[in-house]
């Protein structure tokens, strides 16, 4: 028989089997019935298939052995017990896993605290040793009010070269008129060299040129205006057209940066403050800055000129540093 013939026979066999099993469509069934009527060979084949089917179908049905269900149930119960045992092990494993996760979380927290402590320490420790040793803090009664005074006495006598500072302080406020007037008056009162230009969007831009000590004085006076600001941003230039931005900068931080002797140290400290302020913004209670401002009050606060008497001698108390001038543009602008 040819392959084609065999295929044809296979197809016929399939049809005959389907016929026997009642799986044909009415049309196919009619077709097969016609085939059977006209072909004795196919009819014989159908008979053989029917016999075969009947033979297999006639084999007695075996019943499951007695007690099968009980044995299965026993196995299921035993399996459950084993599973429960495994579950206990899993719970123990889970407990260990949980413990490990807690330890990891604790380790991560410690690491975070360590990093923050490192940042804070670098900020705190960055106060130049010479300056720190010469900072004299005295508390004097002035008009019945305790005033903290600091003097960077070493500044004048220091022979270490101080690199010039260049930056921009952007103060955004909804109370533009009052803040602008306050800043203007503070600059003039302290006798600082400055020029003023109008800010296109409202407000003024004060380009101040002075010594570090002059800026300290100015910052000391305008510190109170921070409560009326929406934002304060300091841009610290590195002298190579690059700068570091510190958002939410405080007056104390500005003072700290400016009082660094080298541009490199200022940039490093600016970056630290930038990170610190960013982290602090994400924390609800401002814990980071609270730590730095409370525990290091003498270091983070703006160095102010010494008042040697009750008279207004702020200007006289300003100790001009050799070299290391400050070029700071203070932009006082309106909030949207």
């Amino acid at each position: 028989m040819s392959g084609e013939g065999q295929m044809s026979m296979d197809k016929i066999d399939e049809l005959l089997n389907s016929f026997v099993d009642g799986e044909l469509t009415p049309r196919e069934q009619t077709e097969v019935e016609r085939l059977i009527l006209h072909d004795a060979k196919i009819a014989a084949r159908l008979g053989a298939l029917k016999a075969c089917k009947l033979l297999v179908g006639s084999v007695p049905v075996a019943r499951a052995p007695a007690g099968m269900a009980e044995r299965i149930m026993t196995r299921i119960r035993m399996g459950t017990e084993t599973a429960e045992g495994q579950e206990i092990v899993e719970i123990r494993k889970g407990g260990r896993h949980l413990m490990a996760r807690r330890l990891l979380a604790a380790a991560a927290m410690i690491a975070l605290v360590a990093v923050l402590a490192g940042v804070i320490y670098t900020i705190v420790a960055s106060q130049p040793g010479a300056d720190r040793s010469t900072v004299s803090e005295t508390w004097q009664k002035s008009t019945g009010k305790a005033v903290k005074l600091q003097q960077i006495a070493g500044s004048a006598g220091s022979t270490m070269k101080v690199e010039p500072f260049e930056g921009q302080l952007v103060l955004v406020t909804r109370d533009l008129v009052a803040v602008d007037a306050f800043i203007n008056k503070a600059i003039e009162t302290n006798g600082l060299q400055y020029s003023v230009t109008k800010d296109p969007i409202g407000g003024n831009m004060y380009s101040v040129q002075c010594a570090v000590s002059g800026l300290n004085t100015l910052l000391g006076e305008i510190e109170t205006v921070w409560t009326r600001l929406d934002t304060a941003t300091l841009l610290v230039f590195d002298g190579k057209a690059e700068y570091v931005t510190i958002e939410d900068v405080g007056a104390g931080q500005v003072g700290r940066i400016v009082n660094e002797r080298s541009i490199k140290e200022r940039i490093r400290l600016a970056k630290d403050f930038s990170v610190l302020n960013n982290i602090d913004r994400m924390l609800p209670g401002k814990e980071i800055l609270a730590i730095t401002t409370e525990r290091n009050i003498g270091l983070i606060n703006i160095p102010k000129p010494v008042l040697t008497s009750g008279e207004k001698s702020a200007k006289a108390g300003v100790v001009q540093q050799p070299g290391g001038g400050v070029r700071l543009t203070i932009v006082v602008t309106a909030a949207d």
């Binding site: 089997n17 099993d21 016999a51 006639s58």
Partner: protein, 201 residues
Amino acid sequence: MPGTAKIEFDDAVLVERCRQGDSAAMERLIVKYQDRIYNVILKMCGNRDDAAELTQDTFVKVIENIGKFRQQSSLYTWVFRIAVNLTLNYCQRKARVAFGSLDAEEVGLANGAGAALKEYLYDRREPVPADVAENKELCELVIKLLMKLDETYRAVIVLRDIEGMDYAQIAEILEVELGTVKSRLSRARNGLREMLEALTR
């Protein structure tokens, strides 16, 4: 009809209770299907002890996995799928049966069975199932011949001719196309017929 296309209400309730860990429902489910499962497994594997063991394995698997049963098919089909798969795996592992030469001695064809077989095959009258079933020797012969078939063919013929499933159910249980069921069934019956005819020569 042994099986239904959709899950019966009774089965749905049983499944739900089994999922909740109801031992009585599990036992009821086992009792409901154990004979049919055992019968099919026995006809596929040919050994009572192994069939009993495989039946137990089937129901343990059914209960263990009842939570995964999505009720997209009938419980009947799902239980049989597990049983058939376990049995096919067992058969393939054991490789107890293979196609090969067939003679009356190997199959253990007794004289009485031989005569009955000849009468059955060549009697032009329509055979009566009850008469065939009463002929114990002939039935044993058929079971032995079934064991000579390849397990995939055996599975199809057992599910169709012994369990009485339709082609669609067989396809679902074996996870094959309907055409595959048809061709396997055709080959299985042809193989069986050839073996029977060979025994009568």
